[in-house]
């Protein structure tokens, strides 16, 4: 028998929390008074006591592929996060009534008891800046800002009734990406790689790319962090200009063989450490070194868009050597083909307050549309041609919506036209496997302020994504701090069955 490792011993002791003690105690007491057996079926039916899914990776190969518990509709996810939060009222949520009341004072009923990030006093209603029309066979509404994406509208499912409870960027982004507005939780991609491992052992299962080399996320790297999950499941940020992964290449004058020798020595030390303390993070570290070594060849190939023919580059508007959303979209397709499970693209600049010029609905939003419209459409079309859209899920969206009122920061009229943060309603769209295409789901009121039909909470979206990947969000859990942590948290999450094909 293996000698008890001090690390695991400590883990076990810290896991025996007051919660467990009380839980056990109450359960024992309860058994005296209640016919526990009779109460059981009810609990099981409600899913309250659904047993946690067993996810067992070989500690020395924590990314080896695991089949999902249920037949999956999609095998990978490409998540296009539009950081800063695009205005739904300028893109997808058509509100003619709002346009009619443009410039009028916002009705009192919408302001009473509300707190906004910047709006003060009585703001004016602001109609959409851009004309809307119906497009495609489905006749879904879309503005004139997305002429390329419009051609793919029959492949999209637009959710107009998204809701969140966070109105500042960082917590709202964390909620969308990790299921919790606080730091320390595991991101979507980490949950997915934890549950499924990685198809390709020469590439990370979860890759993150950012459109700009200078702007970073408000919430920073925790957006693709592994939180309480083992760190081997965190997202790996890659770049399309320069080395794909910083410090991945061998330093000048070091050959691959020499690198191998160094790794062998380091691995040996780590193995000794593991034998002594038994901390699985040590094995994860060995696995990560080994993956980087394998990645040296594979990653540069996967990220190298110069290997694409000219017509493909043109279709995406990609320019090799640059850092752009277009390049990232093209790389996303290449990664999808190579079995990367979760590909996360971030594009910043949608925070259209109207303060600086690049944050105006009339300027910055236009630039963002210009930078993302063509590549997003190209990505959809390209995946479709390769048959990959059938089992890929594309998710597009920001972290909240924007107000139907014009922002009046400091009670003043502002230089550019903008809208404030709006958690009550926003639009996202999904496309790909298992999704009913060419539909819109949910609706907001005539002014686009509140959701009036089929609200979709962020946790509902998460439960739906996990369902498509073959998981029940109630059972995909990880014990941490005495609680079976779940992506969807402790509140009940609903799989949005209306948008499923």
């Amino acid at each position: 028998m293996m000698p008890e490792s001090p690390f695991l011993d400590q883990c076990r002791l810290t896991a025996d929390t007051r919660r467990h003690f009380l839980g056990w105690g109450m359960g024992g007491l309860g058994a005296f008074f209640l016919n526990a057996a009779a109460a059981e079926p009810n609990a099981a039916k409600n899913g309250a006591s659904a047993a946690a899914l067993q996810v067992q990776h070989d500690p020395s190969a924590p990314l080896s592929p695991l089949p999902p518990p249920f037949a999956p509709k999609v095998r990978r996810v490409i998540y296009l996060h539009m950081g800063g939060s695009p205005s739904q009222l300028e893109l997808f949520d058509h509100k003619p009534e709002l346009t009619k009341f443009n410039g009028r004072d916002c009705p009192e009923v919408f302001l009473k008891g509300k707190r906004f990030a910047f709006i003060t006093g009585v703001p004016k209603l602001l109609g959409s800046m851009y004309p809307f029309h119906q497009a495609g066979q489905s006749g879904s509404w879309i503005s004139d800002r997305l002429p390329h994406l419009e051609k793919m509208i029959d492949d999209m499912c637009i959710i107009k009734s998204m809701r969140t409870d966070q109105f500042n960027h960082a917590p709202a982004q964390l909620l969308v990406q990790t299921g919790d507005p606080r730091l320390g939780h595991a991101s979507l991609g980490s949950w997915v790689t934890y549950g499924l491992g990685s198809e390709n052992q020469k590439l990370p299962g979860f890759i993150v790319m950012i459109s700009s080399s200078s702007t970073t996320a408000n919430a920073g790297k925790p957006l693709w962090g592994s939180g309480f999950l083992p760190s081997v499941y965190q997202g790996v940020q890659c770049r399309t200009a320069g080395e794909p992964v910083l410090y991945l290449d061998n330093p000048k004058g070091v050959s691959r063989a020499e690198r191998r020798q160094v790794l062998d020595a380091v691995d040996e030390i780590n193995r000794v450490t593991y034998a002594e303390f038994g901390n699985p993070e040590t094995v994860a570290r060995i696995a990560q070194y080994e993956m980087s070594f394998r990645m040296q060849l594979e990653a540069s190939d996967a990220m190298d868009i110069t290997r694409e023919p000219a017509h493909v580059l043109a279709r995406y508007g990609a320019e090799p050597g640059k850092t752009s959303f277009a390049n990232n979209c093209l790389v996303a397709r290449r990664l999808a083909e190579r079995g990367v499970r979760f590909i996360q693209l971030y594009h910043w600049g949608w925070d259209s307050h109207g303060t600086p010029v690049d944050q105006g609905l009339n300027v910055g939003l236009v630039d963002c549309c210009h930078a993302t419209d063509q590549p997003t459409a190209a990505l959809l079309a390209d995946l479709k041609e390769r048959g990959l859209l059938e089992d890929t899920l594309i998710v597009w969206g920001g972290e909240f919506g924007r107000t139907p009122m014009q922002e009046n920061r400091g009670g003043q009229e502002m230089k550019y036209i903008g809208r404030d943060h709006h958690p009550e309603a926003f639009s996202m769209w999904l496309a790909g496997g298992g999704i009913k295409s060419g539909i819109s789901h949910g609706a907001t009121d005539d002014l686009g302020y509140d959701v009036v039909r089929d609200p979709v909470e962020v946790r509902d979206l998460h439960a739906t994504m996990l369902y498509l990947l073959g998981f029940d969000s109630r059972t995909l859990s990880y014990p941490y701090q005495g609680l079976d942590q779940k992506l969807t948290g402790v509140k009940p999450a609903r799989i949005v069955s209306e948008i499923l094909a």
């Binding site: 009810n42 080896s64 999902p68 037949a71 079995g339 390769r386 048959g387 059938e390 089929d454």
Partner: protein, 318 residues
Amino acid sequence: MPSEPRAPGSLSAPLYLLCVALVTGLAIATIMALRPAFAHKVLEMVGLETRQQAASGSFYAVRVAPLFAQHCISCHGENRAKAELRLDSYAFALRGGRHGAVIRPGEPAASELMTRITLPAGDDKAMPPEGKTPLSPDDVTVIRLWIAAGASPTLPPSAIKGAPRLVAEVTFPDSNPAATRRQRAPLASVMQQLSARYPGIIVYESRNSADLELNAALRGMAFTDADLKAFLPLRGRIVLMDLSGTAVSDASAETLAQMTALKTLRLTNTKTGDATVSALASLKSLRSLTVTGTGATKPALASLSQRSVAVHGDGDAD
């Protein structure tokens, strides 16, 4: 005979019995009043009341009962009946609670239940109370329409017009590890050999399935016609095959034609062409085929498209 002297304060036998009967009656009445659900059960048992039961498939059973079950019965059910109100059966719902009936058939506006579920969220009397999942506007409409139509236990869904569409809830199949093991058993040893020889590219579709997916694209040009042939023993189970960017060519046409379980086949950027496409005609399960970057031509693909196989790639060899 002189009557026996009675102890002071004692009662005659009939009077005593009367008292006992009175006290018992009072006790029963009190219990009945405090526990109407119990009272009805007793009355039902002794045949003083007819049992009201909802018909399966009725509007109540299909639309209303699930809402009560989802939102109400944790407090108004068998294990707990706050205010003595239970909503876990039609009969209980109609009988009401401690304060009387909560549903007045045909009169939603006069029904306490309607009043409670339409109070603004912050109200102390609003139901479900704060912290519980509220009923959606559509849910409220369903209940209102049902009460307005007479709160019937039998009326079929089609008889109540204007009800919001019924939304199906997603359920997960029960997993049966033993059955899955049995299904996998015949091919287990082949599967073991092949996964050792080709690690990571042949995997089960899910934990509850014996169906397989072959992702040879991960091997690229190192995966050849001969390699594909090695997977023939699994032909009855491979449902998805991604051969994109591999060295597989038309020489594999015959192999592919035997992959009878195949639903999805991806040939992107391979040296395959019309010979392969024609061979696929025998695959009855095939639903999706990708020929982008292959030599396949439109005429050869036409027959597959007619069979409602989704063909990806335009078939213009380039």
